[in-house]
Symmetry: C2
């Protein structure tokens, strides 16, 4: 297996796209390729992540993207794994490059739902759940994650302030990220005053619907004699699955696919949680950040919500979590989210995140969840 | 790179599914795994191909499928490349297995559009084309392939009988395939009497909309000490792209992605067209079979339509093409089609295609096109 690097990265500002998914994808892809100091013709394979192109009447995005880049001959494929689509695309790119099938691959996650109303968008999002057993009966993601939050809070006697601290932290980070959807701080008071969406989840527990695009260039070390950026070395690229429907799970505390992907990723990278300097985790709801940090082994069960309140996971804390602002504040453009997490890690490692720089950037982890954990990807990155 | 085999295969009968995509996918996946003499737990990664799950309100099919198979932990991803989705999924599976990332992978292509009316289905199909420049202006696939047929016929002075011969041949083959959508022979007379859909294409030039599911088990030779089937050895697995929109092409004679993928596949497999015993090609319209056979180098430009009339590509001819019945008669369940072509090759090689057996089965080729050639996959298979 060849050592594999992320050598270029780019993202647009998450929010509401005025351009189509293909235009946004092409723009950020070109930026990422230029960031890597490469020409488009260096790309051997393109992996697009997209869930809802059909709402724009457009599937088969790869050839359109490649044509826009001037490399129409290059093979492409679109990858879908609900909200973990672009980390799944990154995994495919990793396998192609590490396995020696191509020297450089392009990963582009893109999503556009802002042309739909909120109810329609919520409905589309929920296509990642188990339709006949969940969605059809009205259970969309706020409701499903509310069940996870209820189970957790009942067992560990949490307070609303603990979850509020996560929202406040992620908004504070997002306020320092020029590509974040929400660039404003919130207070614990405004969190507590925000309306209930699905009890116990308040509005400020929930990530927004965002449009967005994020791109990564993945290359073999041996093909990059003189990298122009500080590459991320892919130390682990792991995916795992789990039963989709919550009622089929043995337990609602944690996501089994995160536990499995995390264990395998730490083994593959030969590090343990203590060796990770900062991380981006899938905080589609504040409870999701709590579960991720415990499932990955960063805190004992029942402790992660309290740690946020104590500042441990703040940008300048012992373990910075979601310096980008996370899904909560940076935003959640479904199939772009996983790639966008890695863009943040790349920016931090390359010293391109002024105002939100984390203290140590030797080793970082990205955690991306599909739906309520039917799929999970964990990537661990190091330095050369 | 490890030698990689197809060790099990299954398909349902193409037509109109009464069950959901997930149910059909799970059923054929289990059959393919059993066919390989394996337990589901032998599967290390699942690749689903699906384009239009959103019409059933269901994305994220992999975890649902894996849960149905009793292997919820196993990672999965859905792959889309328009009509070449499941050959793209097979390529991903090949890369994972040949590259040593897993010992056995499952490929399941599934599509269900039969719950929609024909106009709606035509609209969805066209999402593989270039929406703002083609589909939006009314150009769906019958019209686009009609342009290719017009250009070809003008240059090579073909007769309707030549294209009719392809339809008659593929229907004759489909009539002998118990899993074909159309199991009836047609005559040249009924072809010529069939209504014009998009001039010069008649109804019998066009493949149907089919629902269907097809599954393959892909495994490393070294993991299959005692295969219970006659495996297909993957000698080449190649994909290529091209400009999607026809108006951006330099030429309308042939599909550039087929030419490129074909050349590379023959080089990878170290065979030439003369060494191929039979093939399944992407005959979404009769003109597509003609272009494929010429682009792949089986006949000189301008000759393939005539060869069908002369019987060369019949089941008992010198070069049997589409013994399954092809997309024309076996049917075209979009994201299942590419895997289904390989199911046919597997059945032929394993002597499980009585009534439509081809004379020689040492080397076979599968050719699967996305849209009007924005993507193309070519696989070449040999025997142990």
């Amino acid at each position: 297996m060849r050592e594999t690097w992320i050598v270029g990265a780019a993202s647009n500002r998450y929010g509401t796209l005025v351009e189509s998914a293909r235009e946004a994808a092409t723009r950020v892809a070109l930026e990422a390729i230029q960031d890597a100091g490469l020409e488009p013709k260096a790309i051997g394979h393109t992996f697009v992540a997209n869930c809802f192109g059909l709402t724009e009447h457009q599937g088969h995005l790869g050839p359109l993207l490649n044509n826009g880049l001037g490399i129409p001959d290059v093979p492409s494929v679109t990858v879908e794994s609900a909200c973990s689509s672009s980390s799944a695309a990154l995994h495919e790119a990793f396998v192609h490059v590490a396995g020696g099938f191509t020297d450089a691959a392009l990963v582009v996650g893109v999503e556009r739902l802002g042309h739909l109303d909120t109810m329609a968008a919520t409905g589309y999002f929920a296509y990642g759940a188990d339709y006949p057993f969940e969605t059809r009966h009205g259970a969309t993601f706020p409701g499903l994650y509310a069940m996870l939050a209820s189970a957790y809070s009942a067992r560990y006697r949490t307070t609303p302030e603990m979850f509020g601290a996560i929202a406040v932290k992620n908004h504070a980070n997002g306020a320092r990220n020029p590509n974040a959807h929400f660039q404003k701080e919130i207070t614990l008071r405004s969190y507590l005053d925000s309306p209930i969406v699905a009890s116990p989840l308040r509005l400020y527990d929930c990530c927004p619907f965002s449009d967005g695009a994020a791109a990564l260039v993945v290359a073999a070390r041996e093909a990059m004699a003189h990298p122009v950026t500080e590459p991320l070395v892919v130390r682990a690229s792991v995916r795992a699955g789990a039963v989709t429907a919550l009622h089929d799970r043995q337990d609602l505390i944690g996501l089994p696919s995160t536990r499995l992907a995390g264990e395998r990723a730490f083994r593959q990278a030969k590090v343990d949680p203590g060796g990770v300097d900062f991380l981006e985790v899938h905080d589609c709801f504040t409870i999701a950040e709590v579960l991720a940090l415990e499932d990955l082994g960063f805190f004992p069960r029942g402790a992660a919500a309290r740690e946020a309140l104590e500042g441990t996971t703040a940008r300048d804390g012992r373990l910075p979590v979601n310096p980008s602002g996370g899904l909560k504040a940076k935003g959640h453009p479904v199939a772009a989210t996983g790639a966008g997490q890695v863009v943040e890690i790349f920016e931090q490692v390359n010293g391109r995140a002024p105002g939100r720089a984390v203290p140590r950037t030797e080793t970082a982890l990205a955690h991306n969840v599909g739906a309520t954990g039917g799929s999970c990807s964990v990537h661990i990155f190091g330095r050369r």
